[in-house]
């Protein structure tokens, strides 16, 4: 029982971080129509940048984190301005593969600047574990969930009330109409990418504060794809609901299926879920089913 509770708590909390990263993907997909496959590398590079700021440069948290956010904003702006802007209007195949090029480039940049394969961030939260009923949970998980939840709250307020948020939703709905209303759509694109990179960076910091910085972070970013596929590509709600589901499936499966299969089954569960969703309900739980006409 204690075991089950443990898996449920870690699963849900990690899942919320996945949802956070996935939200960045959905944002870019909805407002710009670009499928960002460089998500894993964005998570990776911003985690390493955090490492660079906090450990290598020895900056305090209050200075280091704003710098990481600035870095993520600059990265998002740069990717949109330099790579995606020239490709506006190109077929979807180009838009997907160009993000693969970005992924390759970022991975190389990480190898270039931080040539080691693993590192640990200084502990951001108290190491004292917390007892919830019979389960023992380290505080990092709970803090991660709390931060993710509050970011969800902030984002939904932003999209509901802030002018820029409303315009972003409108762009997602109908680019042409928004442009006709005098909104510079390219600016919205740029904002979406900046926001997405920031979300990836926050998600990266949270994940790597739990598990350290490894190349596995790329896979964490890819796990966010299983969240968007399960939730539906164009649904914010879907991402938030599917995140904890993926986290739960991963942890429960890892906990109970390992004796039945091979060790390490945890890593592959999100990808198996992708395949299952593709077969059963390809547009996800909340995704819009596309009706195409010739």
């Amino acid at each position: 029982m204690a075991e089950l509770l443990q898996f449920v708590i870690t699963g849900t909390t990690v899942g919320m971080v996945y949802a956070l990263i996935a939200l960045g993907f959905v944002l870019v997909w909805k407002s710009t129509g670009v499928a960002n496959l460089a998500l894993g590398q964005l998570v990776l590079i911003s985690s390493w940048f955090t490492f660079g700021m906090l450990v290598q440069a020895g900056l305090p948290f209050w200075l280091g984190f704003p710098l990481v956010v600035l870095f993520a904003l600059a990265l998002g702006w740069g990717i949109e301005r330099l790579v995606l802007r020239p490709l506006i209007g190109q077929p979807i195949l180009s838009l997907i593969t160009v993000t693969l090029g970005v992924a390759y480039f970022l991975q190389g940049a990480v190898g270039f600047i931080w040539p080691k394969s693993v590192a640990a961030l200084p502990s951001l939260f108290s190491q004292e574990p917390i007892h919830i009923g019979p389960a023992v949970v380290s505080q990092e998980y709970l803090w991660s969930a709390l931060i993710s939840l509050s970011l969800f709250g902030l984002l939904s307020l932003y999209f509901k009330y802030h002018k820029m948020g409303v315009v972003m939703r409108a762009t997602a709905d109908d680019q042409l109409a928004v442009q006709a209303c005098g909104v510079p759509v390219t600016k919205i694109f740029s904002r979406s990418w900046m926001l997405a990179c920031t979300l990836a960076a926050v998600g990266g910091i949270l994940i790597s504060s739990i598990g350290g910085i490894t190349f596995g972070l790329c896979e964490t970013g890819l796990k966010a794809f299983s969240v968007v596929i399960l939730g539906g590509l164009d649904s914010f709600l879907g991402a938030i609901v599917a995140g904890p589901i993926i986290g739960l499936a991963e942890n429960l499966g890892g906990g109970y299926l390992t004796p039945l299969t091979w060790p390490g089954v945890k890593e592959v569960i999100p990808f198996v879920i992708i395949i299952i969703v593709m077969f059963v309900k390809p547009y996800g739980l909340f995704g819009e089913v596309r009706v195409e006409r010739i």
Partner: protein, 351 residues
């Protein structure tokens, strides 16, 4: 004006129109190329034969991906996974079951093709990004199974593979393998070229350009998409088998997600949906890789660059090349080559 053909070349029959090699110059160039290739082991060092072998193997794999992505428009980012299926099928068959090499080569292709078809089934209902994600999932699931099914694949330790042998002759040296790989590559490229000109290939192109319209015209989408997956992954399996016997050792480390991305990059750089595209792209990327391997240690010691330079510069350059090609020349090197030929034929009035 038709500049696909040299001046003065006319078609008097359908067979002439369909011929790949038309003029005397074509045939002479082909003969020269064949002689140069056949004699290569005489004048090249073992190292460069190794590079040529790797290029040949990669051309087969990229040709497969080109059928799937370039002609049929089904983006696959799990190609390295399908190559791994071929490599391991061949390794297990020859090493553990003692199957002769040529049988294992074909079976490796079939196995990879079948696995590819399974992961291609979602392509009937989804496309674009969804399919890309499903092939990424395929990549990770395949590599995971290989790493953990220790009893058959040797797990993380990998497994050794006996050298290929054809008709009792063991192909142990790079030179002997060169002939095997070049012949297979030539056959693969020729088959792919001709597949693209048949009913099947035209159906692929119709599906790529607009799958709804293709279906309305009576093209069975499910059938042809699965055929594309089978054909593309079959060639991946063949390439995997050759790779396994070429290196003599297989390990899942050789078939990573980044490799899958690089294959997509290769066919984009070469030119999607053209027969020569994969050749251009593969040669370009592999030679770039060689150049980086030679130059980066020199640069590192000359300019006292940080230690990560050698490992990081390769992926950075590849990423940059993919991005730049997509922005500046999305039709790839094959298009540039066609432009060059056209301007050569129209000289001195090229435009």
């Amino acid at each position: 004006m038709n500049v696909d053909l040299p001046a003065g070349t006319r078609n008097y029959s359908y067979a002439q129109d369909m011929a790949v090699f038309r003029t005397r110059t074509h045939w002479a160039l082909l003969a020269a190329l064949l002689v140069a290739l056949l004699a290569a082991p005489l004048y090249s060092s073992n190292y460069w034969l190794g590079v040529a072998n790797l290029i040949g193997i990669t051309i087969i794999a990229a040709t497969g991906l080109n059928i799937l992505t370039g002609y049929c428009g089904q983006l696959s980012i799990g190609h390295a996974g399908f190559i791994a299926v071929g490599a391991y099928t061949s390794a297990v068959l020859t090493n553990r079951l003692g199957v002769p090499f040529l049988a294992a080569l074909v079976l490796a292709g079939v196995a990879a093709g079948l696995i590819g078809m399974v992961f291609g089934i979602p392509s009937l209902r989804v496309k674009g990004f969804y399919l890309a994600i499903s092939t990424i999932a395929a990549q990770f699931i395949i590599v995971w199974v290989i790493n953990h099914w220790t009893a058959v694949t040797g797990g993380f330790n990998g497994m050794s593979v006996p050298p290929a042998s054809v008709g009792g002759l063991a192909l142990v040296s790079q030179g002997r393998q060169f002939y095997l790989i070049m012949v297979t590559t030539a056959v693969a490229v020729l088959v792919a070229k001709n597949l693209a000109r048949t009913r099947v290939g035209r159906a692929f192109v119709a599906i790529r350009d607009n799958d709804l319209a293709a279906e309305v015209m009576g093209i069975n989408l499910f059938h042809y998409k699965l055929v594309a997956f089978f054909a593309g992954c079959f060639l991946a399996g063949i390439a995997g088998s050759l790779f396994a016997h070429w290196t003599g050792f297989v390990n899942a480390e050789n078939f990573t997600f980044m490799d899958s991305i690089l294959y997509v990059g290769m066919i984009i750089i070469g030119g999607l949906g053209t027969a020569v595209g994969p050749i251009f792209g593969v040669v370009f990327i592999r030679l770039l890789q060689q150049g980086i391997t030679f130059v980066s240690p020199v640069l590192e010691s000359a300019f006292a660059l940080p230690a990560g330079f050698t490992t990081g510069i390769g992926p950075m350059v590849f990423g940059l090349v993919i991005i730049l090609f997509l922005i500046l020349e999305p039709r790839g090197l094959a298009h540039r080559w066609a432009l060059f030929k056209a301007s050569y034929r129209l000289w001195p009035f090229s435009y």
